[in-house]
Amino acid sequence: MSDRADVVLETRGLVKHFRSKVGAVRAVDGVDLHLRRGETLGVVGESGCGKSTLAKLLVGLEKPTAGEIGVRGQNMAALTGGALRRARRHIQMVLQDPYTSLNPRMTVGDIVGEPFAIHPDVVPRRGRLRAVQDLLDTVGLSPDHANRYPHQFSGGQRQRIGIARALALKPEIIVCDEPVSALDVSIQAQVINLLEQLQDEFGLSYVFIAHDLSVVRHISDRVAVMYLGKIVEIGDDREIYEQPTHPYTQALLSAVPVPDPRLRGRRDQIVLSGDVPSPADPPSGCRFRTRCWKAREVCAEQEPALQIRDRSPHPSACHFAEVRDVLHSG
C-alpha cells in the first residue's frame, strides 16, 4: 500500500452474516481491500461466494455485521441518516440485470434523474432535464429517448441507462456488479468500452465484479479472488493471471475455456471435485481444503491468512502457496 492519499475506498475486517434457518450465513467473512483513485479492482469468484453482498456493503445498501468501510476518511459503516446519504453520493452502483433493475413504469428520463430528487442540492430543479439529456448523451443514447420506457430498449441500451443513472451524482467510485454478464458478446464489448471511456473521462475508480475471468482481466488493474466469503488471493493482472499462487485461483483459471482450438489438450487441467460447501457451515481452517489437492492436516487446523509468503510475492491465503503458471503465459 504505497501512497495512502491515493486510496479512495478501503475496508477493514468487513463481515456480513445473514440469519437463516440453518444458522448464520457467512456471506462476507472478513474482507480487507483498498481501491486507488482511477483504478479498477476486479472481484472474481463462483456463485454464492459473496460478491454481490460485498458490493451492497460497499455502497451502503447492506449494513455490515462488523468491520469498517472508509470513504473519504469517514467510516461509512458507522454513519446513519443524512450523513450516510451524503457519503453514498460518492459511491454508486451498476447492477447485472438490465431487465429487472429498472422500474418499468418510469420513463428513462425519470430513472436517470431520480438521484437528483434524492439529492436535490446537486442540480437545481430547472437544470435537471438538461442534465439528464447530457447523461444520456454521455453513455451513447439519444437525448430524445428520455420519454421512453425501459422495455423499448435492448439489453445493452438498458445497461447504458443504468450507467447514466450511476453517473448522475458525479461519483468518484462505481461498483459494477456483473454489469455485462447478461449481455451477448458483441453488446458486452460495447458496454465494456463505454465503461473504460468513462473512467478516462471522469477519473472514476471501479470495483468490477464478475464471474467471467476474461472480462475481469481485460478491464482490471488489480484482481481479488473470492471463495466462501473471503479473499483468497489478490494482486495485479500479471500476478493473478500469470503467477497465481493459490490452488483455487489456479483451478479457476485452468477451468476457463480459451477461444483457441490450438490450445486444446495442451493446457493444464485442474478439475476440482465436488461442490462449494455451504457458507452457513464453512470448513474449519482453510475454507478451500475440501476441494484442494494440496490439503494437509494443517489446512484443517489453521486458517491461512491473506499475506505475502515465501513462495508468493503477492498476498495469498494458502499455507502452501506457490506459483503455477496454468495459462502458460511464458
Binding site: N193, H211, S214, R217, P257, L272
Partner: protein, 343 residues
C-alpha cells in the same frame, strides 16, 4: 439390447448407410398477434457418429428453436415448421406421425437443456424417473430398472449413486442435477445428443466437470453431439465443426480450426474480435455496431449488412447463398474471399 434397438430400425425409410442426422433448409416461424417472427430461415447442417457440431450464436438467433424443431417439441402453435427436412438415417422425421416421432425421440435423438430443474419432474425421485424410462421403453422389471438407474448415475459420476437414488431433484446441487439430466438423456442409448447450453447456468469449475463428462460419454458411445452455445471458449475446447447462426441462418459452417484461424464470414470475424482473452491482456475490444435485427423485420439481402464492415451494394439486395469456401466449409457472404484473406 440389440433386439429392442431393431424396433426403430424397422421404421420404413431408415437406412443405416445414410448420414446420421441431416437438416436441410429448415424454416420455422412463430405466428403471434403481433405478427410473424421468422425464427429459422433455411438452416442446414449434418452430424456424424462421434462428431461434435457446435451451433454458435447470440441470443435470439434461433439456436433453441432449431433444436426444438429437430426434436419435434416445438411450441406449436405459435411455432410452425414451414419448410425443410430433418433426416435421421435418411428418414425425414418432419412428416412422421407423432407416435413414431416419439419413438425416435426416446431411442435415437435425446436432448438436454440449460435448466435441469425445470426439465426434471419435481415430484418424483431421480431413481423413479430414470427407472421409468427402462420400464416403459425397455420393458424391464422394477428391480432391473432400478439397477440400471444406479449404474447410469454411477456413469455420470454422482457420488454414492445407490444412496442418492431416492432423492428428489431439488436435493441435488446445480451441477449434480445437470448430471442427472445427462443420465436421463443417455438412458436409452441415443445416437445423437442435442445439448442446449448445458453449462450456461453453472460455475466454470462445474462447467469443466460437465463438459468433461459429456466428451467422455460421447467417445465411449460414439454419439453425434450437437452442442448449442454462445461461448466461443467452450466451442474451441470441444467442437469438431461449427455452425455460426445469425438471424435464423447458418452464416458460416466450418471445421473448428479453420474458423478460429481464418473466419470467412464478417460476423464470425467480428465476434472473435469482440471477446476479451484470458491468456493475454489485449487492447480495446472490437465492437459490432448496432443490434441483431427484429425477426419480423429481417433486412433484405444479407441480414448482417447493416452491421457489416465489408458490405457493398449487392449485400443490400441479394441474399448470399452458402458459398463453398473449401470442401466441408461454407459461408453466406458475397465477399468471403476478402474476409478470409484479411489478417
Amino acid at each position: 439390447m440389440t433386439e429392442i434397438r431393431a424396433e426403430t430400425d424397422v421404421l420404413p425409410g431408415v437406412d443405416r448407410a445414410a448420414p446420421l442426422l441431416e437438416v436441410t433448409d429448415l424454416h420455422v416461424e412463430f405466428r403471434t398477434r403481433y405478427g410473424v417472427a421468422h425464427a429459422v430461415n433455411g438452416v442446414n447442417f449434418r452430424v456424424s457418429p462421434g462428431e461434435t457440431l457446435a451451433i454458435l450464436g447470440e441470443s435470439g438467433c434461433g439456436k433453441s428453436v432449431t433444436a426444438q424443431a429437430v426434436m419435434g417439441i416445438l411450441d406449436s402453435p405459435p411455432g410452425h415448421v414451414t419448410g425443410g427436412e430433418v433426416r435421421y438415417r435418411g428418414l425425414d422425421l418432419l412428416p412422421l406421425p407423432e407416435e413414431q416421432r416419439r419413438r425416435v425421440r426416446a431411442n435415437r435423438i435425446a436432448m438436454i437443456f440449460q435448466d435441469a430443474l425445470s426439465a426434471l419432474n419435481p415430484v418424483y425421485t431421480v431413481g423413479f424417473q430414470l427407472g421409468e424410462l427402462f420400464r416403459v421403453h425397455r420393458g424391464m422389471s422394477r428391480r432391473d430398472a432400478r439397477k440400471r438407474a444406479v449404474e447410469l448415475l454411477d456413469q455420470v459420476q454422482i457420488p454414492l449413486a445407490k444412496a442418492r437414488i431416492g432423492d428428489y431433484p431439488h436435493q441435488f446441487s446445480g451441477g449434480m442435477r445437470q448430471r442427472v439430466m445427462i443420465a436421463m438423456a443417455l438412458a436409452l442409448d441415443p445416437e445423437v445428443l442435442i445439448a442446449d447450453e448445458p453449462t450456461t447456468a453453472l460455475d466454470v469449475t462445474v462447467q469443466a466437470q460437465i463438459m468433461g463428462l459429456l466428451a467422455e460419454q460421447q467417445r465411449q458411445r460414439n454419439m453425434g453431439l450437437i452442442l448449442i452455445t454462445h461461448d466461443m471458449g467452450v466451442v474451441a475446447d470441444v467442437a469438431d465443426r461449427i455452425a455460426v447462426m445469425y438471424a435464423g441462418k447458418v452464416v458460416e459452417e466450418a471445421p473448428v480450426h479453420d474458423i478460429y484461424a481464418r473466419p470467412a464470414h464478417p460476423y464470425t470475424r467480428a465476434l472473435l474480435e469482440s471477446i476479451p482473452r484470458l491468456d493475454h491482456k489485449g487492447g480495446q475490444l472490437n465492437v459490432i455496431r448496432g443490434l441483431p435485427p427484429a425477426l419480423d423485420a429481417i433486412p433484405a439481402g444479407c441480414p448482417f449488412h447493416p452491421r457489416c464492415d465489408y458490405a457493398q451494394d449487392a449485400c443490400r439486395h441479394d441474399p448470399p447463398p452458402p458459398y463453398a469456401v473449401a470442401p466441408g466449409r461454407t459461408a453466406r457472404c458475397h465477399f468471403w474471399r476478402e474476409v478470409v484473406g484479411d489478417e
